[in-house]
Symmetry: C2
Subunit: 164 residues, 2 copies
DNA sequence: CTAGTTAGTCTAAAAACTAGACTTTGTCGA
DNA sequence: TCGACAAAGTCTAGTTTTTAGACTAACTAG
């Protein structure tokens, strides 16, 4: 299968991967959440080839993750900002940051601190169950295929054993 | 900059991207969490080119995300399993799944359901503050650069404005 | 002896990525 | 008016990665 056919699958991870699963894309989004907006600034911070950056920004715009906003005329110039859909990627970037902090930070600790404004603490956000408020990890979640419904396509890439 | 130099940065997202930010990698890991272990099964489910799959599995093994475990002799054959470090990627895959479910699932709802075993509900895990237990998103977190410490390298890719 | 299984490797062609020069449309200072 | 600078890209040619599909190795079952 070619990479651009990946989003034809009905799996949510596959469709998300079509947007996120590329060199540089996660880094570009990370910089977006840190407030970077201008082409030259992405380029300078990431040292990404200009051609690749242009392609990635265009792709993120096409997928409605970023939008181009004009910030001056004469000459017209545009900056890139997160859409609501893009901002909804915050948990993804945040959990990646947690993982990197755990396995790759130096002895001084994480290079970037995150403060939870409402309570004032520096935190690493954690994944929890919205029903019972306790922690969630690979061990206490069981995936299963959605029960078949006439109107919907079959699930082709479900769990190996459909454990109840 | 070349892609394989990306992990030289001291940013946690950059170092994580060196492992995760590649075509197919997120999908392979997703299948790992669904119980897939054998080469042929990855290949059949993902329709990934065999050469690419072999490269990706080797890379994930080198980064200690997967390990190869012998499951038979004559001939020797191996399967791929998540290490503890790999299992710690569950929040990343889970938040990607949430995002994909929100923006890309069909009218029948998410194709894969996740049950939180301790409480028995089908859920989408959410990101919360471990201090105050309330929800976390892009709007209520402020990133700032770690205060400089003699023993540690400077933070080069911190937030644009170091908002308190 | 033949076909099948599993986990790969090999090869050649196609696609994507990279470095660095170049373009476009303006501003500013001398 | 002239040259330097800024910002957001595009263009080009060379390198690297990805892809499809055939092939290999080491067995088992019939």
């Amino acid at each position: 299968m070619k990479w651009d056919e990946i989003s034809n699958q009905q799996c949510s991870v596959a469709r998300s991967s079509a947007v996120l699963g590329d060199r540089w894309t996660l880094l570009i989004l990370s910089d977006c959440f840190l407030g970077v907006r201008k082409f030259a600034e992405f380029q300078g911070r990431l040292e990404i080839p200009r051609t690749t950056l242009a392609n990635r920004l265009q792709k993120l715009e096409q997928h409605d993750v970023l939008y181009r906003k004009q910030y001056q005329t004469n000459p017209d110039r545009f900056e890139y900002r997160l859409t609501n859909k893009g901002r909804d990627l915050y948990p993804v970037l945040s959990t990646i940051l947690n993982w990197g902090d755990k396995y790759y930070s130096d002895e001084a600790g994480p290079p970037i601190l995150r403060r939870h404004v409402p309570c004032g603490h520096d935190i690493q956000p954690v994944l929890q169950c919205p029903e019972c408020n306790s922690g969630v990890d690979a061990h206490n979640i069981r995936a299963r295929t959605r029960p078949p419904i006439d109107s919907a396509a079959d699930v082709k890439r479900g769990p190996v054993s459909n454990r109840s």
